[in-house]
């Protein structure tokens, strides 16, 4: 699911922030964690921006597969 990786990265970001804030790291580790945090933050922001804002209709085919069709308010029952 789309949210899954996002949540993982978000949790990593939160973890990075907490560890960095706890302040008992070596400078080197701090930098490493900071970089990781920034990477996660960028990923999350990108994910947020990525949404396409599409509205589609999910149609079930006879063979049980699904097809997506652009939604227009009056083409359905």
């Amino acid at each position: 699911m789309a949210a899954e990786k996002f949540e993982t990265m978000l949790r990593k970001l939160e973890d990075a922030v907490e560890r960095l804030e706890s302040g008992d790291l070596s400078l080197e580790d701090s930098l490493k964690i900071f970089e990781e945090g920034v990477r996660c933050a960028n990923f999350c922001v990108k994910k947020l921006d990525e949404a396409e804002k599409k509205v589609e209709v999910l149609l079930k085919q006879r063979d049980g597969t699904f097809q997506k069709k652009e939604f227009s308010p009056d083409n359905e029952r």
């Binding site: 699911m1 949210a3 996002f6 949540e7 960095l20 804030e21 400078l27 509205v55 308010p73």
Partner: protein
Amino acid sequence: MSLFEERTILTVSRLTGLIRGVLEENFEHVWVEGEVSNLALPASGHLYFTLKDPGAQIRCVMFRASARALRFKLQNGMMLVARGRVSVYDQRGEYQFIVEYLEPKGVGALQLAFVQLKEKLAREGLFDESRKQRLPVLPLKIGIVTSTSGAALHDILTVLRHRHAGVDVLISPVRVQGEGAAEEIAGAVRDFNRYGDVDVLIVGRGGGSLEDLWSFNEEVVARAIFSSRIPVISAVGHEVDFTIADLVADMRAPTPSAAAEMVVKSREEMDNHLQHLSRRLFNALDRRMTSCRERLVSTMRALKDPTMLVGNLFQRIDELRDRMSRALRGELRLLREGLAADMHRLRLSHPVLAVERCRERLLALDARMTSLVTRQLDGHRERTSVSVARLHAYSPLTTLVRGYSIVRRLDDGTVVRDSRQIEPGDCLGVVFGHGSAECVVKKRHDERDRE
């Protein structure tokens, strides 16, 4: 009736048939109310029970065709209003009430059905908080199960558009009321789960009567929502409408618009949360760097000027030395004072002094003794000179002076008092009053000779 005037003998069946005819003719369309008891639900699908009140009871049967339309489940003790006709069960000779329609007394049938299903599903744990899924942190793709012609979809899309929510919407169009609607709704929920690629589902419709919303009170919908791996937000009717779907959903939105708000809100909250986290990340690093820099600077400062450190140490040493010597001086003074006292006491008992004292005593004794002895000697001397004078008077020397001599044998010094002591030739010493002489005996004269 003519039947009873003549002696006409009827078979039991005939009589029963007659009775049934009478009853069916007169009680063809009756409403009756009473309490259910002796309920039996055989596999055939027909319902058998007794309706009673405090004074009487009547056997009832509801055949499968009618029973199928029952929305609620019949239970003993229930107060019912039943519509039907009275008939006779020939085989047992019992009259009974054939029920065609049933409704709970007081509440509507739908209401009762709702309560019953709610209790049943609650017992099964479908409403348990622990079974509810968390809404995804960031729903980016929303699946919507509703009618495309209803107000619900319109409301949801409007909210999403106005709030500039960056989300994809996937709609599964279903009928939301009427026969078969519940199955369609349940099917759409299952389809979305098979399709998979949505983060959250909104299942709902706009407001309406209890009958209109009824599909969302159906067990099949409740079970589909419960089984959904995708978190479900229910959004049925208006705030006051509460459906089984609302209870079983992971989250209940009071209206379809509210459901959209929830999604948008989580998106906005996520924006804020991310910003907040980023800020904290940078701040934390900044603080870390600052503290590192401060430590570095202070360390370097200490490195640059070791004299400061040394100076401090010197100062400390001086201070310690000072304290030490002060302490020592005090100690010494005490010692010295003690020593002086001891010395004084020692001096008082010095042996020289004792010797001196002894010497003084000795001298005194000596002096006393000397004078004592002197006096004694003087006494003796006086007495002696007296004695000497007296002795002098009797001295042989005086006799000698008067002319007498003393003769001694020279060989042994013996004083010769008798001539027989000597032989001619012997050497004799003669002492006079003044001086002496040595003589040789020429001849001896004994006293007889002289005679």
